[in-house]
């Protein structure tokens, strides 16, 4: 019961947060000078050689048709009303399609990749952390620390650029800038060959995200475990004659894991952002390049919706992490209710 109340309270707190996020998302988007019609004008002039003056009437008509002539508050409320009452996030100006359709294609890719990198990254991080802590100051510890160090300090976009350079200029790889090779794009059914082709296209995202993602966890797990290993109850367990493995995996590791789990919500955010950053550099059609093109082309409803959805997912992610922690550690839910 306490757990359910705890969950309900967290959900209720999230609602005003999401409304606030929607306002900030929209405000951020419209804060960028110029609108879609300006971008359309700029692109059409460059591509066709027609002049601004020749296109001005068409641009004015387009602005009216798209509702961009209305006040910003008006535009915001129409947008919000659509989301709340009909789940309509508006229309993409660039794709001439509902935003949900445009994002719906890419969001699962971003979330799926982020989730895989989160899980694998955390597992590797935890294992490397355990290994480093149990081999303190030995070669293995130094190597694990070094791998973690580079994962933290090298920006993901730099790693992406290096890999992109190698793929394009050195290896002349054919697995660039898409999710599948053309022959598999047309293949509707699942096959291992298609899955392997998918992996060959997205491995840079997985590799870089996992490397960067495990780094912090490795450091955290190593530090936590070393602290726990020095705790009194571990000494007691050892004194009772428990084996080294039992002490480590029954008593030390579960306690050292708490902060790692607490951090998972935040790590998901990190993984989503990482996936977006790498995909932009690599040109892989997940949310990343869509965010970039929406900014440059002022596709405002797409951009606002992406911000809102990602923020919403992060709120949910944090909520789930809190829930998991409360489930794991009764002190958390007790502490929450003792506050008020």
């Amino acid at each position: 019961m306490a757990l359910l109340l705890y969950l309900l309270k967290r959900i209720l707190v999230s609602i005003p947060l999401l409304i606030g996020i929607s306002i900030v998302s929209f405000a951020l988007v419209i804060a960028v000078p110029g609108d879609f019609v300006d971008s359309w004008l700029s692109q059409t002039v460059a591509q066709t050689g027609l002049t601004h003056a020749e296109l001005q009437d068409q641009a004015d008509a387009m602005r009216i048709k798209l509702g961009l002539d209305k006040s910003l508050a008006h535009q915001y409320f129409i947008w919000l009303k659509g989301i709340v009452f009909s789940g309509d996030f508006g229309q993409s100006f660039v794709y001439s399609k509902p935003v949900t359709e445009v994002i719906g294609l890419r969001l699962p890719r971003t979330l799926g990749l982020a989730l895989v990198t989160l899980i694998v990254g955390q597992l590797i991080g935890v294992m490397l952390g355990i290994y480093a802590a149990t081999h303190q100051y030995k070669l293995g510890d130094t190597l694990a620390t070094l791998v973690a160090f580079f994962g933290i300090v090298i920006p993901k976009f730099v790693m992406s650029l290096v890999i992109l350079y190698l793929m394009a200029y050195v290896w002349n790889s054919s697995y660039i800038g898409s999710l599948y090779s053309p022959e598999f794009i047309l293949q509707e059914h699942f096959s291992f060959a298609k899955m392997w082709d998918f992996f060959l296209h997205v491995w840079p995202i997985l590799f870089i995200s996992i490397w960067a993602g495990q780094a912090y966890t490795t450091r955290m797990m190593r530090g936590n475990l070393l602290d726990v290993m020095n705790a009194q109850y571990i000494e007691t367990a050892r004194a009772k004659g428990l084996s080294r493995g039992k002490v480590l995996f029954r008593h030390a590791v579960p306690n050292a894991l708490h902060p790692v789990i607490m951090n998972m919500g935040g790590r998901f955010d990190y993984m989503v952002k990482g996936e977006i950053e790498i995909a932009i550099v690599m040109g892989i059609p997940t949310l990343g390049p869509l965010i970039l093109s929406s900014v440059t082309e002022r596709d405002m409803y797409v951009l606002s919706a992406i911000f809102l959805l990602i923020s919403g997912l992060l709120v949910v992610g944090n909520l789930l992490a809190d829930f998991a922690l409360a489930l794991l550690d009764p002190r958390v839910r007790r502490a929450e209710f003792s506050k008020g």
């Binding site: 000078p33 110029g34 300006d38 971008s39 004008l41 700029s42 692109q43 059409t44 002039v45 591509q47 066709t48 050689g49 027609l50 002049t51 601004h52 003056a53 020749e54 009437d57 068409q58 008509a61 387009m62 660039v94 794709y95 001439s96 294609l105 890419r106 992109l164 793929m167 394009a168 200029y169 002349n172 790889s173 054919s174 660039i176 800038g177 898409s178 999710l179 599948y180 053309p182 022959e183 794009i185 047309l186 040109g283 059609p285 390049p289 970039l292 093109s293 440059t296 082309e297 002022r298």
Partner: protein
């Protein structure tokens, strides 16, 4: 029938020139540095293609099988009476072999396929692959200057003017068919004109009333039609009937969806009549879009009714399939270098050396083909008061109208240093404004140049009374007023412009002029530029021929150029601007080749002698073309009369059978 390349002409003309008419203080532009290996021959207007019946025709083998199986009409019934015949002599690698795939990578996405209603298909060559237009501009780059009398024929195989140039009669290619087999005829022209161009509810590319005052269309028969105008027009008007304004659509599909013919239809619905995912659609282009996977791929298959052939009678195109990978614009170059895309433009000189090195390795999948120097950068000073925020701006703009000030700025620029800042090697060459050196119309003797000379720059500025009256190292306005600080806007997405501006800032600082650079993203840059919200702008403005990008370069209308727009409906011409506008009018009005050339020389002289813009450097652009590709003609410019995707004539590109890539849909054609 060949002529010297423009580059060779420049060299000869420059060496031979002894005296100049006028411009006593100016030099001639120095001869261009050679771009080693760049050689091509210009050809006569009739050397590229013509229309005629051949003794026999042949087709791609799988189409022949379909004909044999009764699923496709015989080739003779699919071709027009006199198809367009590409001449072998103008093909750099000769007659091609059928089969294979040509792969594009583009950053755009198809809005929809109804180009009649102004929808684009994603740019980067996809629009041009399906839209065939009345006349054609792209391949004109290869035609020698004296034959540059106008656009090349296409769907309209010929046209003529009446005696007073108020009527233009055009004749269509007879018997051509849309890719679904429906006849292409003047009903398509009537629908395009009356129900799209002239219907103000439709956002057609060619706007109602914009072709010429009082333009009216009259259909004469199924293959000919006539435009009548209120005033005499010239051959230059016909250029408007090329891509992207003069491309008819399939009336047999669109008419039933147009509100004029369907009381239940709406204009919004009409615009979306051919949505991006709804394929195939009928086209006159060489390939038919048959599959669109959003954000991934557009696949096109050969059009079995295509109306162009080679001289042996082989129906074109040679490639059975064309792909457009839907990615990003940056990825287009990456994939071309990696060999997973077949074609890309390269327009940033900073990348040239690396790309050239990369392409020289034996196993590199891509070749880098440099064109003539057709990219040019210039700083334009705003002569208009539009967009001025205060008296300081107004004072600056008054100063800009002084010829001596513009000459001083030109003399203060070390263009060799600017060029090397952008690209090492022989790529960059000084530019003094006007037509670029790679233009067929470029004439070195008409090109004045005020080269790097600090003494002259300082003397001219002193002569204008611009002294550093407050001793802070920056000259002040003549009345001892504000420091001369010029804000220069530029597109922050273009690194080569940023590098040039850094060099210019330093060089103008040496003569006591402070430059404040203001980078804007592409959208805001264009908005500021056309709203007059700048004192100076540094940008790339290609000027290959007087009728392309005219508004950017000459005062041909109230809003042209952006750096001297009319105010409150009044023109405030600099002394030479009226002559410049007149030279342009002469160019577009005349059909006489010699008179056209003289007009371009006048344009060039007036722009450069009066330092209308402060040119910085000009450089070639490059095409990245996969090594498998044949008939990609050397010297094809990225942009001259049209973008390279048109200029390179994709329907006659080919790949030897042993190097062809597997098709995704072998043996298939569009099924309607």
């Amino acid at each position: 029938m060949t002529a010297l390349t423009p580059m060779k002409s420049v060299l000869v003309a420059t060496v031979c020139s002894v005296a100049l008419t006028g411009g006593a203080q100016a030099d001639l532009l120095p001869p261009e540095k050679d771009l080693s290996g760049l050689e091509y021959e210009t050809i006569g207007r009739g050397d590229l293609y013509d229309y005629r019946a051949l003794d026999g025709y042949s087709e791609a083998p799988f189409l022949a099988d379909m004909v044999a199986g009764g699923t496709l009409p015989p080739l003779a019934d699919r071709l027009p009476e006199e198809p367009l015949v590409f001449k072998t002599g103008a093909m750099s690698d000769g007659i091609g072999e059928y089969g294979g795939v040509f792969r594009h990578v583009i950053g755009g996405r198809p809005e929809g396929w109804n180009w009649l209603a102004g929808q684009h298909q994603g740019w980067g060559g996809i629009n041009m692959a399906i839209q065939e237009c009345l006349v054609r501009q792209g391949p004109r780059w290869q035609i020698k200057a004296e034959d540059q009398t106008g656009p090349l024929p296409n769907l309209a195989k010929s046209w003529s003017w009446n005696d007073d140039n108020t009527q233009l009669t055009m004749t269509l290619i007879k018997g051509a068919k849309w890719s679904d087999g429906d006849a292409f005829d003047t009903e398509d022209i009537r629908f395009w004109w009356e129900d799209n161009v002239e219907d103000k509810n439709v956002a057609a590319r060619l706007k109602a009333g914009s072709l010429a005052p009082g333009a009216k269309l009259e259909i004469l028969d199924e293959a000919s039609f006539r435009f009548t105008f209120d005033e005499p027009q010239s051959e230059s008007l016909v250029e408007r009937l090329a891509y992207i304004e003069g491309c008819p659509g399939p009336s047999h599909v669109l008419k039933p969806l147009h509100p004029k013919y369907n009381s239940e239809a709406t204009y919004e619905g009409y615009t979306q009549a051919m949505p991006a995912d709804n394929l195939p659609i009928p086209v006159m282009g060489a390939w038919v879009p048959v599959l669109h996977k959003a954000d991934e791929l557009v696949v096109m298959r050969r059009n079995p009714f295509y109306w162009k052939v080679d001289e042996t009678g082989q129906q074109l195109p040679y490639y059975n399939e064309m792909h457009f990978r839907l990615s990003t614009w940056d990825d287009r170059t990456t994939q071309a270098v990696a060999g997973t895309g077949d074609f890309s433009n390269m327009e940033n000189p900073a990348n040239y050396v690396a790309a050239l090195k990369e392409s020289q390795s034996d196993d590199a999948p891509v070749t880098v083909r440099f064109g003539q120097r057709t990219l040019a950068w210039r700083m334009s000073l705003n002569f208009s008061d539009i967009g001025a925020e205060d008296d300081v701006d107004l004072g600056l703009r008054d100063l800009f109208r002084e010829l001596d000030f513009r000459k001083a700025v030109s003399h203060a620029l070390d263009r060799d240093a600017i060029g090397q800042a952008v690209a090492r090697g022989p790529f960059a060459h000084p530019y003094s404004g006007g037509l670029v050196a790679g233009s067929s119309y470029f004439d070195s003797e008409s090109t004045f140049y005020f080269p790097y000379d600090m003494d002259k720059a300082n003397a001219l500025l002193d002569g204008l009374g611009l002294k550093d009256s407050d001793g802070n190292g920056i000259r002040n306005m003549a009345d001892g007023g504000a420091d001369i600080e010029i804000d220069v806007i530029f597109n922050s997405g273009r690194n080569e412009t940023r590098k040039q501006l850094d060099a210019i800032t330093s060089q103008l600082g040496e003569v006591g002029i402070r430059v404040i650079s203001r980078g804007l993203d592409k959208t805001n840059f264009e908005t500021a530029l056309h709203g007059g919200a700048f004192n100076a702008v540094l940008n790339r403005r290609n000027f290959p021929t007087p009728t392309r990008r005219s508004c950017y370069n000459m005062p041909i209308a109230g809003n042209c150029p952006a750096f001297h727009q009319e105010q409150d409906g009044k023109r405030d011409f600099l002394p030479f601007e009226e002559d410049l506008a007149e030279a342009y009018r002469t160019f577009v009005a005349t059909t006489d080749g010699a008179e056209k050339i003289q007009a371009t020389r006048d344009i060039q002289r007036l722009i450069t002698e009066n330092v209308y813009v402060i040119g910085t450097i000009q450089a070639p652009a490059a095409l990245l073309v996969n090594r498998r590709i044949r008939n990609a003609h050397p010297g094809t410019p990225v942009y001259m009369f049209q973008w390279a995707e048109d200029a390179i004539i994709r329907e006659r590109l080919w790949t030897p059978a042993e190097q062809q890539l597997d098709e995704l849909m072998p043996g298939k054609i569009a099924e309607y």
